[in-house]
Amino acid sequence: MKRKALIKNPSKLNLFVDLVMALAFVTVMELRFTGLQIHELLGLAIAVAFLTHIILHWRWVVSVTLRFFKQLFHESRLNYVLNLALFVDLFIATLSGIVISRTLGLDFGSFERALPWERLHTLTADFSLMLVALHVALHWKWIVSHSKKYLFNFHLPRPKARNLDTQPVPVATSSQNVSAS
């Protein structure tokens, strides 16, 4: 039932996916906090969640890509460039993380020595914190409005529309009757 409600309401689903992603992201950034095994598993989970996030926003990606070189609202353009940078950064961070992984049981042989993967992983991960922070900052209005709506909605439900039918019909004043006639 709840799952159906989430699918019917993509904004709610977006908010929960983003919230989980954000929490996982700030946690996975600290290797000393999680330990290597959790760090690597959580990193992979974030990569999957990141792809889900893109799929959920696919319409926006396509529409802005098609209009990018035409006239476009400046904030969307800035968003697009930032998101592209974030995508590239997280892609490199994930790829380098998989290559240098110790607990996933993968062996890349000579490919592991082809590039300074460890340094690349650390730098892209640190840089991603800045890009994610900017990404969150640019969407603060959306986050505030949706959090109010779906997370902190403690208000009593509004009266339903059918209740309005029982309201007394306003009676026209004498002046209105004169103007009407």
Binding site: V26, G35, D107, V136, A137, V144
Partner: protein, 132 residues
């Protein structure tokens, strides 16, 4: 019916900014405050083979080729934290990441609000063209 004016949640913004400042001071006082800009300088010096990383990364301490083998355990695992368990003494670092995201958001909100305030002020001051 009077048109409803779009209002900005100024009170909420002020509370948020104050919370970010206070928590920043708290993180600094508890020695959990790193310079996030060091990652940028590190990125630019990547080609030169240098680069300073944000915080003291345990995996950054290893020279090329001296990183322990897969599943080797030992010193590396001790410094990183036990595999499969969370090292709660490092929780401040996680809070720093949360704080950093909040701080960037706070800066952007303040800049955005200040800019829109001055834009409105300039518009109000500029003489209106009389329409006949």
């Amino acid at each position: 019916m009077a048109a409803q004016r779009k209002t900005t949640p100024i009170r909420g913004i002020i509370i948020f900014v104050v919370l970010v400042i206070i928590s920043g001071i708290g993180l600094y006082a508890t020695n959990n405050f790193d310079n996030p800009l060091s990652a940028v300088t590190g990125l630019f010096s990547l080609g030169a083979g240098g680069g300073q990383e944000r915080g003291a990364r345990p995996d950054g301490d290893f020279a090329e080729g001296t990183r322990p083998e897969r599943g080797g355990g030992g010193d590396f695992d001790e410094r990183v934290g036990e595999n499969g368990s969370v090292n709660w003494s490092q929780f401040g670092e996680v809070l720093f990441n949360v704080w950093f995201i909040a701080a960037v958001t706070a800066v952007l909100i303040v800049v955005q609000q200040t800019f829109s305030f001055f834009t409105r002020w300039m518009r109000q001051r500029s003489p209106r063209v009389a329409t006949t």
